[in-house]
């Protein structure tokens, strides 16, 4: 079973109390503390922007804009969700606005218009042994993961990002994206299976023997 399920569901701890105290001090005028509030989440903000925009320069811009917007609107944070959830939601909204400006919807990748209801049939049954976490220190593996993720359609990427990379709960993901819990589950399943199909041939064969998801060669 996935370890993070329990991590997401745990009650507020000492770290959350410190965070609440920090937010209270910022609201009372100690604005210079805002950087300390954001710092633990800077990576998550950037990852959210990059996963949605698929472009490092845009992702950095949007991440900065999201942080500035969070500062400007901190008083609107009611504490009904975790601060990190609120911050990531702002980032997702900013990224979507950027996409609209760039008319990215005209160039959606394959998979975006697929129906969600049918059972997804895996294309590749290669036996993929566990990859140790230390392997992520290798830039080749990170590049492989980034390319696979970028090739997913927007609606799958969004759900996968929030649930599996930002570790939000299914319910938080549904709320952040304005979709039903059932849609989150369906899209998440397809996203995970599509990514497995994309990565399995390379990772099962030993890395980089071939890139299975170059232009025009998606397995679905």
């Amino acid at each position: 079973m996935l370890q993070r399920m329990t991590a997401v569901a745990k009650p507020a701890g000492a770290g959350d109390e410190r965070e609440q105290a920090l937010i209270a001090r910022i609201r009372n005028g100690e604005t210079s503390l805002f950087a300390a509030l954001i710092k633990p989440y800077e990576r998550r903000v950037y990852v959210a922007a990059l996963a949605l925009l698929r472009n490092e320069a845009d992702a950095q811009d949007v991440a900065q804009e999201a942080i500035l917007k969070a500062f400007a609107h901190l008083r609107q944070f009611r504490g009904e969700s975790r601060f990190s959830t609120w911050l990531i939601q702002i980032t997702v909204n900013e990224a979507r606005m950027r996409q609209r400006k760039q008319h990215a919807d005209l160039f959606e990748p394959i998979g975006e218009t697929d129906g969600e209801d049918g059972t997804y049939t895996p294309r590749d049954f290669a036996d993929w042994r566990e990859i140790p976490s230390e392997a992520l220190e290798r830039s080749e593996l990170r590049t492989l993961l980034a390319k696979a993720l970028a090739s997913l359609g927007q609606k799958y990427r969004e759900v996968f990002l929030l649930r599996d990379m930002e570790h939000m709960s299914i319910e938080e993901t549904a709320q952040a994206l304005g979709i039903s819990v059932a849609s989150v589950k369906t899209r998440l399943l397809r996203a995970r299976l599509m990514l497995r199909d994309l990565l399995a041939p390379s990772l099962a064969d030993g890395w980089f023997s071939r890139a299975p998801f170059g232009k025009g060669s998606k397995p679905w």
Binding site: S32, I38, P40, A51, Q60, F125, S133, L149, H167, A200
Partner: protein, 181 residues
């Protein structure tokens, strides 16, 4: 209960997250013992979740942290223009100058580090707020799980410049981009 390959694929996410009934879990487990294809799909899917869930899967661009902090500082209201603001700025300047003077007098080229093995940080934003434990050697991003409170349990939230002046060094986990190596 007997399940087909299609049913297993449909339930793989729920199975991984422990959201299937005990009967269905047992049926899927029985299917997996006999079906290499479905086992490969399950293992691969678990790997996908595991790898992308690790924060190292995407690298933070060099300088990203400094850039957003600079933008943030620029966007903050300036105290300039009020008597109170000028007094505050003058007091801060005096404090900083005093700190430098103390550092020069007491320590020569730099502060005495709390750990013989530690390397001082590099490029740490002076005003960044960090946490230090009275018995510790390193300073941390607030909330870092690698902050050990020590026997006294005394943890302070102070500016990074102050922490460095007191001989603390950056945590290699939460502030590794500032570790001088």
């Amino acid at each position: 209960m007997v399940v087909s390959c299609e049913q297993v694929w449909r339930e793989i996410s729920n199975y991984l997250e422990g959201e299937v009934s005990p009967d269905l879990r047992a049926a899927i487990a029985a299917h997996l013992r006999e079906c290499k294809h479905c086992t490969a799909v399950l293992d691969g899917t678990r790997n996908v979740v595991h790898l992308y869930g690790d924060e190292r899967s995407i690298e933070l661009p060099a300088g990203f942290s400094e850039r957003w902090q600079k933008k943030l500082a620029e966007s903050m209201p300036s105290p300039r223009g009020t008597i109170y603001g000028w007094m505050l700025a003058a007091a801060a300047l005096a404090l900083i100058s005093g700190s430098f003077a103390v550092a020069r007098l007491d320590r020569g080229s730099g502060p005495d580090l709390r750990s013989y093995h530690a390397e001082p940080g590099r490029g740490v934003p002076a005003t960044m707020m960090v946490e230090v434990a009275a018995d510790g050697k390193t300073f941390h991003v607030p909330g870092c799980k690698f902050l050990h409170k020590g026997e006294s349990g005394n943890v302070r939230l102070i500016a990074a410049a102050e922490a460095i002046r007191e001989g603390y060094v950056p945590c290699v986990r939460c502030l590794r981009q500032y570790v001088n190596r």
